[in-house]
């Protein structure tokens, strides 16, 4: 990542408190690196940006975090998207996960712009609020967007073990050498992707007529299906797959759901599972 940030929503509190951040907006050519990623070809020729710093390096030196799965848990937020040429558009230049706020830019304060300095000060004031708020999830899985991203690369990666280590063996005969076909396969089944060593499509979930493995409605439907003679075994298997619980009795699942209703979330990053936000964890103030 270089010196600049994409112009985004100024609604976040770090753009106004305690100092008003007034970025100077300019236009850059869209970084060529963005075009390699899903959605990259549809980006315009130019994008609005603003400089956080004026470093000697200008276009490199900093680091962005991948956007895939970044916001799939309520303990994380993307504050600024960093202009970069190594990862996708949307990669995170300044972001928070739990009690850690990562400032991905490389320069010390003397090289920051006035707006960058104010943003830096505001971020220090902001992260103070998250004392004691450890992350709710840590990396246990690669978010499903990576299945699409990596599918597009199967002809460009020369390592022969890449396909077998990323995608199920049964897909090799049909899609080896056909990145477009493999991309379409994962896009068509996007809501059913999960990962156990490779990126799999959940056919068990499909047989139940459900539309996604990551919605609260699915969790609730699976618990309901524990009452069904026909589907209870599959429902039980999927509840074990997608939660951290291993209850054996229907009543235990029902009680667990009732106790935590309204506080569930699903995280690919956390291992393709439903988690529970502890009571009192979220800070519900202005953003």
């Amino acid at each position: 990542m270089g010196d600049a940030a994409h112009v985004g929503s100024p609604a976040h509190i770090v753009f106004s408190k305690p100092f008003i951040v007034n970025p100077t907006v300019e236009e850059y050519d869209t970084p060529s690196g963005y075009r390699r990623f899903p959605g990259g070809k549809e980006l315009p020729d130019k994008m609005k940006v603003w400089k956080v710093q004026n470093s000697e390096k200008k276009t490199y030196g900093g680091v962005v975090a991948r956007s895939y799965g970044f916001t799939d848990s309520p303990d994380a937020e993307a504050i600024v998207l960093g202009v970069n040429n190594g990862k996708e558009y949307g990669a995170v230049g300044i972001g928070r996960h739990g009690n850690f706020l990562q400032w991905g830019y490389s320069s010390p304060p003397s090289e920051m712009t006035e707006a960058g300095q104010k943003l830096f000060l505001n971020c220090l004031c902001y992260i103070k609020k998250f004392d004691g708020k450890a992350p709710l999830v840590t990396r246990k899985g690669y978010p499903r967007d990576n299945a699409v991203r990596l599918a597009a690369l199967i002809n460009r990666i020369k390592d022969k073990s890449f396909f077998e280590s990323t995608f199920p063996a049964e897909l090799k005969e049909k899609y080896d050498g056909d990145p477009d076909g493999l991309v379409e396969y994962y896009k068509d089944n996007f809501e059913f992707i999960y990962r156990e060593r490779t990126f799999l499509i959940d056919s068990d979930l499909k047989t139940l007529g459900l539309s996604s493995n990551r919605t609260i409605e699915t969790l609730e439907k699976l618990i309901e299906l524990l009452d069904s003679d026909e589907h209870s075994e599959t429902a039980q298997k999927l509840l074990i797959r997608y939660t951290q619980e291993s209850f054996e009795k229907r009543e235990q699942w029902q009680n667990w759901h009732a106790e935590n209703k309204g506080r569930f979330f699903f995280s690919d990053f956390g291992g393709y599972k439903f988690f529970v936000v502890p009571e009192g964890y979220l800070i519900t103030d202005e953003k």
Binding site: P18, G61, V63, A65, G104, S110, L124, I127, P135
Partner: protein, 145 residues
């Protein structure tokens, strides 16, 4: 007896009027701030010199130009800054500080990787490539990859 009773009643009435501030109706007492008032909506407290009343611990490369750059800047805006060595940081140095900054100069790929226990939950700002690798040690979303 009746006279005394009347006098007594008058005295009672007079004292209650005096205590209540006369005949004026008192406005209702303002509602108390709820005990769980969200501290995050409070204004950033500032000292008389305009500095933000926060204490920061900067763990970086002691004696480096980069450390001086950060400290000179932060000293203008915050009430208290202390510094230390990122290589030696283990979380305990942050005790008593509002926010810790973890930073280093030079090539972030070669910067120290402090051993911070996973029980450490104080507010931290991690900087640049160094920060991304520290995030990676903790398997956070803000890591390098």
């Amino acid at each position: 007896m009746k006279k005394y009773l009347m006098l007594f009643s008058l005295l009672l009435l007079t004292s209650s009027l005096l205590l209540s501030g006369g005949c004026k109706k008192q406005p209702p007492a303002p509602p108390k701030e709820p005990a769980t008032a969200n501290p995050t909506t409070a204004k950033t407290p500032t000292a008389a010199d305009g500095k933000i009343e926060m204490s920061l611990y900067y763990a970086g490369h002691p004696g480096s130009k980069r450390e001086k750059d950060f400290v000179d800047f932060l000293n203008k805006h915050f009430a208290k800054i202390e510094t230390g060595d990122l290589a030696a940081f283990d979380g305990s140095q942050a005790e008593g500080f509002d926010v810790t900054i973890l930073d280093y100069d030079g090539d972030g790929f070669k910067s120290p990787r402090p051993r911070i226990p996973h029980t450490f939950t104080g507010p931290v700002m991690t900087m640049g490539v160094t920060g991304a690798f520290i995030s990676g040690q903790r398997s956070l979303k803000t890591d390098y990859l």
